[in-house]
């Protein structure tokens, strides 16, 4: 098994005219790479009607509905994160309940609010009550404000994770830009915080750094929006790990934090 814990799909109401081609391309590449499950999110309308990282409640629902449609079409290949904007607390909590009831298996937080903000506590409590993980978009060491997002970094996510110690949190795309060494230092002792290996960054030494910082038991494999980099990291992990350890990263760690039976047997 090979589980991509950080996938994205596009939708017809989004910015891109080529949304269907990109979705097909992801599934086709996934087949070639041996991906058995894409755990995905759709970030609203991807900026068409509200900002990608600050999606309106209507956009949140639009993206989640599109993803539920994809899941219904590919029930054995795609699982979903309910994407929510914590600035709309009541809507966010209700949307989580709606999407999880419809079959989604996790929560996706983009960059609408800092991860350590109290407004994220109701989301953490919902994750706890439903028994699902939270995938949090992270800028690896945010030294400046980045346009278009209220990005969080690992230290802020660690603060949230400490406040909700029974909820598994996934630090998104360690290769997604910024200083991954800073992130690894910030999360080393936060046992309910997992590292998603996705992102376009393929720095030499990054995988070794992840293994050293958090151990093989807290690593999750994923691609995000570049699949060649995910495949490259997998190929490198095959050189670094035993087969048993490799299986942990490929799928067993993911199976352990998502609802029982939700990722197939």
């Amino acid at each position: 098994m090979l589980i991509d814990v950080h996938a994205h799909f596009y939708q017809p109401d989004g910015q891109r005219a080529d949304w269907a081609e990109r979705n097909s391309s992801r599934l086709r590449a996934g087949e070639q790479m041996g991906i058995t499950r894409h755990v995905a999110s759709i970030l609203g309308t991807w900026g068409r009607q509200s900002p990608t990282y600050f999606p309106s409640p209507a956009d949140v629902r639009s993206g989640n509905d599109a993803l539920l449609g994809l899941i219904a079409f590919h029930p054995d290949r795609i699982s979903g994160y309910a994407c929510v904007n914590p600035n709309y607390t009541e809507h966010a909590v209700a949307e989580i309940s709606r999407c999880l009831a419809a079959g989604m298996i996790g929560i996706k937080l983009a960059a609408s609010r800092r991860a350590d903000d109290p407004l994220l506590d109701p989301i953490g409590e919902a994750a706890r009550d439903h028994g699902v993980p939270i995938l949090q978009h992270v800028w690896q060491h945010r030294r400046v404000e980045w346009p278009g997002q209220e990005a969080s970094d690992a230290a802020e996510l660690a603060t949230l994770a400490r406040r909700h110690p029974t909820v598994p949190f996934i630090l998104a795309h360690i290769g997604g830009g910024g200083d991954w060494l800073h992130s690894l230092r910030a999360i080393r002792d936060v046992e309910n915080l997992y590292v998603d290996l996705s992102g376009s960054g393929v720095d030499h030494g990054m995988l070794e750094g992840c293994l050293h910082a958090v151990g093989v038991g807290r690593l999750l494999w994923g691609c995000d929006i570049t699949m060649c980099t995910g495949w490259a990291k997998l190929r490198r992990l095959e050189q670094l790990l035993t087969l048993d350890e490799l299986d942990q990263v490929r799928w067993r760690n993911a199976v352990a934090i998502f609802p029982a039976g939700s990722l197939g047997s």
Binding site: D18, E21, R22, N23, S25, R26, R28, A29, Q32, M33, Q140, R143, G177, G178, D179, W180, L181, S200, G201, V202, D203, H204, G205, I225, T226, M227, C228, T229, W231, A232, K233, R235, R236, Q239
Partner: protein, 258 residues
């Protein structure tokens, strides 16, 4: 299959601990990636006041292992650079490199245009990197900007015989240069694939169709980046054997013999 990685470095990196890469490290990674030869540059020397001081180690590793071809640096703002260029040719360098944004030179200024002319007259390609690392993850003191596409357009226009090998360029950069140049100018540029996105995006697939497969060659950017990435993106394209061989080495061979 012959596969030449034109985008390889030895040495250490000032902004991140990658160790000190020597010839044996490079060869080990080459074998993993199925690479049969590599064009090797000196990574720390790019940041030195005199980047040409890193050339001798390149010649030395080439003498010990002919698979490792030297790509020496030429800084056209320093006295005596023409002799360094001639020395590179004497050592059998397939190309020389210059990184003007790291040297503090105007990327298409008079020094660079002099170097372009000298390379053209000596029929040796000039290699330039658009970047070495993603802007998002650079050290706070790593302030050299990316090579701008307009500079590359100016350089390729500045001499009708110059040939440029450009690494670390993404789709947008390549399109701005390729379609902002005449076909004759564009035919004198060879791009490495190290920074072009593959599936689910169609950047590489599209560029092979629109710019032309003959304009691309294999490169990885190791040791800053995992060499498996460039192999994986080609694997995901499912190219036929002829196209794969062209990107792996054939296009480079044709470019060098032009």
């Amino acid at each position: 299959m012959t596969q030449v990685d034109i985008n390889v470095f030895i040495g250490s990196y000032p902004f991140r601990d990658i160790g000190a890469w020597d010839a044996s490290d490079i060869v080990r990674e080459m074998l993993r990636a199925g690479t049969t030869a590599a064009w090797v540059s000196h990574l720390p020397a790019i940041y030195w006041r005199d980047p040409m001081a890193g050339n001798d180690p390149l010649y030395e590793i080439h003498e010990r292992d002919v698979r490792l071809k030297p790509v020496p640096a030429v800084h056209p703002g320093l006295p005596g650079w023409q002799a360094i260029l001639d020395g590179a040719l004497a050592h059998g360098a397939p190309a020389v490199r210059a990184d003007p944004t790291f040297y503090g030179l105007a990327p298409a200024g008079p020094e660079m245009q002099s170097l372009v002319a000298a390379c053209a007259e000596r029929q040796v390609p000039l290699m330039m990197a658009v970047r070495l690392e993603d802007l998002r993850q650079r050290h706070p003191r790593d302030t050299a900007g990316d090579l701008p596409p307009w500079a590359l357009r100016q350089l390729v226009r500045s001499h009708q015989q110059v040939r440029l090998v450009v690494t670390h360029a993404d789709r947008e950069f390549i399109e701005q240069v390729h379609f902002g140049s005449t076909p004759q100018e564009a035919a004198r540029i060879l791009w490495d694939i190290s920074w072009i996105w593959g599936p689910p995006e169609d950047h590489l697939e599209l560029l092979l169709q629109t710019v032309g497969i003959d304009r691309f060659t294999f490169g990885t950017g190791m040791p800053l980046r995992l060499p498996e990435t460039s192999v994986a993106k080609l694997d995901l394209l499912n190219l036929d054997g002829e196209a794969r061989a062209a990107i792996a080495a054939g296009n480079l061979e044709t470019f060098l013999s032009a």
